[in-house]
């Protein structure tokens, strides 16, 4: 008798499973309501990442092409992977007459970055921040080495070094 009971139970459980998948099939066939995938390159214009999304490290510039980085190299030391290289020079400030560090090039190796955020955490002047861009695909690895400060940009004279 248990032989038939086994068969009956087996068929019952199989039908329960088929009920679930079948329901999704017909719902999706007619309404596409439960479709969870996103049509990726089509929605490229409307796709918006969350504010905290860690896509790449960027350096904020204001409208006068000024940034906040005074080339202190704290981020360079904080980075676990050697992603950041800062090239700086000493220059005489014409107003105050003091020599100070001037950022020439803030090199960011995206190909080595693990998006851990230690540099941004360490930065005392909020010069670098997270960018939400994730379209990093490129045919040449050298394109991933980026210079974060824009050409001709200068240090914001009013910047404050806020210790966190």
């Amino acid at each position: 008798m248990s032989y038939f009971k086994d068969i009956f139970n087996a068929v019952k459980t199989l039908l329960t499973g088929m009920k679930i998948t079948g329901r999704y099939f017909f719902v999706n066939l007619f309404t596409r309501r439960d479709v969870i995938t996103v049509q990726y390159p089509d929605n490229i214009d409307t796709l918006k990442m969350h504010d905290r999304f860690r896509g790449e490290v960027i350096m904020g510039h204001d409208e006068n092409n000024m940034h906040q980085c005074d080339a202190c190299t704290i981020c360079e030391n904080a980075c676990p992977n050697g992603t950041i290289e800062i090239i700086w020079d000493k220059e005489k400030n014409p107003e105050t007459g003091k020599t100070q560090k001037v950022l020439l090039n803030h090199i960011y190796h995206l190909e080595m970055c693990t998006m851990c955020g230690e540099c941004i955490e360490a930065c005392p002047s909020d010069a670098i921040e997270w960018g939400q861009n994730f379209h990093h695909v490129t045919r040449d690895r050298s394109n991933l080495t980026k210079s974060l400060n824009r050409p001709e940009s200068i240090l914001n004279p009013n910047f404050v070094k806020s210790k966190k």
């Binding site: 998948t21 999304f53 955020g117």
Partner: protein, 378 residues
């Protein structure tokens, strides 16, 4: 008739059979990554399994010796990437306990909630892959539907979906997002509706039951001897939940059950994880309304140096008992940083589990011990 029988036996002696070796992996769908198993087979029956490791060995322990404690945290994301938050938590707790930093309840509760969300996401992925290993391909997408919601929450609050790196020493990187509580509650409602579907689709399915029940039985003694842990060991009745045994973060404040089963077979290992998802939801439900207003990070020194000595911190990741063992000489970097990974420990039992089973059973067993290969290779 008798004569015939004799003839048959004679024939069976005469046919020359031979055990043979089969390389399963490193590129094999069932090994969940790049791992190789050398199988000694007699027909379909497995005589011996020998895992060959190291295909994604990245010498993280060596890297830790050259990194500061802050930098170590993000490396642990890459061990068991499915329970990255718990791995981070292990390192932060180790440093905090060594330095005597007591974090406030807000941090503890948020850490616990995110850890449980991560655990659920991990178990969901495992469930999907378990289905795929047994041949039911649809489970994968159903699991991902629910996992996607968790990843959304993570992305909104932590900034990344998988390797969140949300813990820092003495607190959290960001405060929780404004939508966090709302979204988590929505997720719980959604998932309570969908989790029975998992049972109906796979757990109760007669084929799945037949594939898992009575397969790869491990007794409690064997589990302890082989040093296995996590849900895999709890299926054999070994009480090894660190959340209960040595409560850390906010696990002392909540009331939950340690899921235990006694059968020790593949289905028990499967069921433990399903039930753990219920328990995770239970924990989150208890905590989600209790997040107190407070700072989300404590004051710490800019350069962290551990006192001289040895430190061990254990946490319960989705795979089991994750231990971080640090040896410090009082400097910025540890002299030895060891990750005792649960997947590596669980791998010890695979050979015993698969003795005299079929190739199909090996896939099931391997799936139910739920290893993450980067966690093994480190």
């Amino acid at each position: 008739m008798e004569n015939q029988m004799e003839n048959q036996e004679f024939l069976a002696d005469k046919i020359r059979t031979q055990e043979y070796q089969l390389n399963m992996g490193p590129q094999h769908p069932a090994t969940h990554g790049v791992m190789r198993m050398i199988l000694q087979l007699d027909g379909e029956e497995i005589k011996n399994v020998e895992p060959v490791l190291g295909y994604i060995h990245r010498s993280i322990e060596k890297m830790c010796e050259k990194s500061s404690y802050k930098q170590i945290i993000h490396l642990t994301d890459r061990l068991d990437y499915l329970s990255s938050h718990m791995n981070n938590e292990a390192v932060t707790l180790l440093v905090e306990n060594a330095l005597g930093i007591e974090v406030n309840d807000r941090i503890k509760i948020i850490r616990t909630i995110i850890a449980e969300l991560t655990r659920m996401a991990s178990h969901q992925l495992w469930w999907g892959v378990m289905g795929m290993d047994t041949g039911a391909l649809t489970t994968f997408m159903y699991a991902f539907r629910d996992r996607e919601l968790i990843n959304e929450i993570m992305e909104e609050t932590c900034g990344a979906r998988l390797t969140m790196n949300y813990n820092i020493i003495g607190g959290l990187r960001y405060d929780i997002h404004d939508n966090f509580v709302k979204r988590v509650k929505e997720f719980i409602v959604h998932f309570k509706e969908k989790l029975p579907e998992y049972d109906n689709l796979l757990s109760n399915n007669v084929i799945f039951r037949k594939r898992t029940e009575g397969v790869g039985i491990m007794t409690k003694e064997q589990v302890i001897a082989y040093g296995m842990n996590g849900p895999t060991a709890r299926a054999s009745g070994f009480e090894c939940d660190i959340r209960k045994k040595l409560p850390y973060s906010a696990y002392g404040m909540v009331d939950f059950e340690e899921v235990l089963r006694t059968e020790g077979d593949a289905f028990a290992r499967y069921k433990v994880r399903i039930d753990e998802m219920w328990q995770s939801m239970n924990i989150i439900e208890q905590l989600i309304d209790k997040i107190p207003e407070d700072d989300f990070r404590m004051k710490t020194k800019p350069i962290i140096k551990l006192p001289k000595g040895d430190f061990l911190q254990r946490v319960e990741t989705a795979r089991g008992d994750f231990g971080v063992y640090a040896m410090s000489d009082g400097g910025k970097n540890p002299t030895r940083f060891k990750f005792r990974s649960p997947s590596f420990a669980n791998l010890h039992g695979l050979n015993k589990m698969s003795e005299n089973t079929k190739i199909g059973d090996l896939v099931v067993n391997f799936s139910t011990i739920d290893v993450v290969v980067p966690d093994i290779d480190r």
